[in-house]
Symmetry: C2
Subunit: 571 residues, 2 copies
């Protein structure tokens, strides 16, 4: 990378780091242009510093690549505790000021940005709906990669950079989600670029993936079907060069995979999609030692690295030195606005990640063309004179939904291997199951491209569908009633996202997440007790009516009528 580009990327990164630390500690005097006094400092500093400099580094380099390659890119940030980093980047690029006109890109806006962060009446400490560009809440960990893959389905030009923290990587849903790449069709879907961020520590422990050998890690990632590119170190100059080269290589590999697949006369073998492994110190560029104990590069950097800058003069001096090390005078002009040096690394508004319309999917939402219930209704002369399997009838309706919306490619059916046993198999008349792993002659209904996605992980089904909906499409998940509990916690988090999004005027409403619960407790006589649990409905019923609706159709025709609600809002 040319030295002047590197200077700009580095300045952008320093600016983001400055703004991150500022949010954690300060409520006034954001540029430290007057001596720091007690009343400038938050009474209770909150926030997660540890992951943030790495996230800022990634954002800075993604911006560079977006500018150089005109990428249609968005992000999913698994280490969502790094909220201050993403607020910092949104403020820097200007997307935050668009959603929050009261927060300008000047010293006054910066003071508000700082004060509001993780503060009563302010904004959360996580990457939340309030952050423009996000479709993924930090907090409960495990769902980033599934969200990213859901977002790229039927979005052939989109690149989703998905940062996976090495803490999150220990969760089950994340561990399973690596295999999402077996489903992605390089012709009709976009690309996910996983960036595994190894900073080594969780709250109080090292992480597994940071403490296995390099050879094991490489073997694992290749076993997942990826081509890993490593960026390791702590020297900023060298790391900038390495990260830029890694992103250049990743972008080139994605292009090559897509070009080959999109121009081939017959489908090429499943590609080894690139990914980046970024190994940096936790709390990189932050305080190295505090109170005689190492902080940078250890779990002590996880949250607030210097405890008490309000009353401890040594802590305060250390804080000021830390923020000064970013040389803010090079980064912000007299008014507090980012300097040209920083702004050179900000894409134009059409390309900013904070303004990518896919990340505010309601903007892109087009209504489904739905048949009427009557078109598929079971004929009856009087109640009870006909017998019909409701889900079999629904399958015919869903087949027609697929037909009428085929050219929009905006409706998908997800399930853990039960679409046929749930009697929805009429859809296979018009759509295969999407599957990009290997096939054998006896396989049925498998194809590189298809409207149905099946994997034996309710977590992945739910995560993919959430990602698909949050980027402005429609879908339905079918599952045995009992095993919907597997995603109880994901449902909670999605419901929270919807609730908060409703309160943000700039977030356009997305389509509802539709569950069809089948094989109810009384119809699981053959599988028995392990397959019987009617409790998911309890779990959903405690949500508000703006967020969740429950329907209990007693027969085929009422089920069809309910299916007409498939594009409603909410869970």
């Amino acid at each position: 990378m040319a030295p002047e580009r590197l200077r700009s990327v580095d300045a952008y990164w320093r600016a983001a780091n400055y703004l991150t630390a500022g949010q954690i500690y300060l409520m006034d005097n954001p540029l430290l242009r007057t001596p720091l006094e007690r009343h400038h400092i938050k009474p209770r500093p909150l926030g997660h510093w540890g992951t943030s400099p790495g996230l800022n580094f990634i954002y800075a380099h993604l911006n560079r690549a977006i500018i150089d390659y005109d990428l249609d890119a968005m992000y999913v940030i698994g280490p969502g505790h790094g909220g201050p980093a993403l607020f910092a980047n949104a403020w820097l690029e200007g997307s935050y000021s668009r959603t929050r006109p009261d927060i300008a890109r000047d010293a006054h806006g910066m003071a508000t940005l700082f004060r509001e962060f993780s503060f009563p009446g302010g904004v959360p400490s996580h990457v939340a709906p309030e952050v423009p560009g996000s479709i993924h809440e930090g907090g409960e960990l495990g769902y980033s990669l599934a969200h990213a893959y859901g977002a790229v389905l039927d979005n052939p030009n989109l690149l989703v950079a998905c940062v996976i923290g090495d803490g999150e990587a220990e969760t089950g849903p994340l561990a399973a989600s690596w295999h999402s790449n077996k489903f992605i069709n390089p012709v009709t879907d976009g690309a996910v670029l996983p960036i595994l961020h190894l900073n080594g520590y969780k709250i109080a422990n090292p992480t597994i993936l940071a403490r296995i050998t390099d050879a094991e890690l490489d073997s694992l990632l290749r076993g997942y079907g990826h081509h890993p590119i490593y960026v390791t170190g702590d020297d900023p100059h060298r790391m900038h060069q390495d990260m830029a080269a890694a992103l250049d290589q990743a972008v080139a590999l994605v292009s090559e995979i897509q070009n080959v697949a999109r121009t081939a006369s017959s489908p090429p073998p499943r590609p080894q999609w690139p990914m980046i492994v970024l190994r940096t110190p936790k709390g990189w560029t932050g305080p190295r030692w505090v109170d005689g104990l190492p902080v940078e590069g250890t779990w002590r950097a996880h949250q607030v690295p210097i405890a008490d800058i309000r009353t401890d003069p040594e802590h305060r001096r250390q804080f000021v030195d830390w923020l000064s090390s970013y040389r803010p005078d090079e980064l912000f002009d007299e008014t507090g606005c980012p300097t040209a040096l920083v702004a050179d690394n900000i894409p134009t508004s059409d390309y900013q990640m904070g303004l990518n319309p896919n990340a505010n999917g309601g903007l892109l939402l087009t209504p489904l063309h739905l048949p009427t219930a009557k078109e598929f209704a079971v004929s009856t002369v009087q109640p009870g004179d006909t017998t019909a399997e409701p889900t079999r009838v629904l399958g015919q309706y869903l087949r027609e939904v697929m037909v009428r919306n085929a050219c929009y490619r905006n409706f998908r059916l997800f399930g853990p291997d039960e679409t046929a046993s749930n009697r929805l198999d009429a859809v296979y008349d018009v759509s295969d199951k999407q599957w990009n792993a290997s096939v054998v002659p006896s396989d049925e209904h498998l194809a590189r491209d298809g409207r149905v996605l099946e994997v034996l992980s309710e977590h992945m089904c739910q995560g993919w569908l959430e990602g698909y909906l949050l980027t402005g499409r429609h879908g339905l998940l079918n599952s045995y009633e009992a095993f919907a509990h597997v995603v109880d916690s994901m449902v909670n988090q999605h419901a929270k996202w919807l609730k908060v999004s409703r309160e943000l005027p700039w977030r356009a409403p997305i389509a509802s997440l539709n569950y069809l619960l089948t094989s109810h407790v009384w119809r699981q006589d053959h599988n028995g007790f392990s397959h019987q649990d009617p409790g998911f409905i309890d779990h959903v019923a405690n949500k508000r009516a703006e967020v969740a609706r429950i329907y209990l159709p007693p027969d085929a025709n009422t089920l069809l009528s309910v299916a007409g609600q498939v594009q409603g809002r909410g869970v």
Copy 2:
């Protein structure tokens, strides 16, 4: 393997396959010694044939290894739909007749075994509490490996053979659980032998791990830290030789790892534990073609491979041919008892997997030596005159629990990286966190052996603890209240296990699974909405009082009083 041993292993396997198919279809005339008639056949055949011959193959070979090496072995069967296989093996070895004296090892008992299977008033179609030797219910998939690892903690002589289905392998909890081997201490813990059974199909789809390249699969398993041993094919003679050699090698590697670790003056590097990859056709040895469609080796073998032997003469003929192919006259004597040829592959009762006391852990349960609440109570003269952090006080109590039970090694504390942030860190005065991945000088409280296990996966914490309790020990899981929902579904399944076990007189009660929910909704002001959910209590409250109790201690001293219930029964 010597030919006569192989003959016996093969005969045992054929007997188990015969008994498996019989359970699915027959309710009388179990040995087919008179012509098969309609009233011998179940009106609705139920059960999962597909996975069963592979499970029987594994059981037969584990028996051989147990006999040759005097192994203290038990099993965990992830593909729990293979219930008829495990009932078959339990009946064959005689452990079933011990728990069900009304079912002898003769033709009459065999008829009852067949009739009861997946039949009204009978036994479930899954590996359930009714199966002697099991600590793991089939049905909801994903928890086998975590259960197996929980079972071997503090059981240095135990070998748990854990069969992982390639369907189950797609789930999140299973995908995460592979990394359990980073925690196992070869000195003080036993060994898990994962057996990944690739039969290629789920209900209606191929499985991911069966459809990636051999090189990718090998890379993945080595990346998980294992030394994979492959057994692939469909020719029984050759497969017997290969499987016997694989088990010999695996047993030798486990012995070597444990011997080296247990005699070393300083801990050797983390070992690459062996595992077996068994690739067989689905529905192996069953019908190859039915109604002109391939069955063996496809998803069509998943459940009942021949649909209608009651009324379709061709189907009936095919069924009789199938069962006759096992040559039952070599396997069962006049009375229906297994012949000497079969019995040669059955360990003596002290070594049978169905009778391993670890799999009926209540038999081994010893009460914890608990301090009284008063020993740690916060002094008060009158209510409200003292301030104390309840969990910090509880940490002191738990430290003493560890001290008083140290020589029994039967109490552990599990959590997703929050033991310290939940203020229980007093336990680190007397115990480290068990961690067998690499360490660096700045690490604190990590050791090869420790009472505390932390991993950022509620699923793994829950699964390990369940495995630990089900094998007769005690423990406590601490988690943020909001994220307990991650394991909602596991809690349901464990509660079901407890409910059914209470109805089985031979299952001795195990210790309760204790949750300490912390950082309640109102105390998550710093982490915000994503960390706030009080609903886990709703989820538990719908269980019966015999199975679950909820305590809401309002202060430190009542929390101590509640802690005295730590060895109660139930969830």
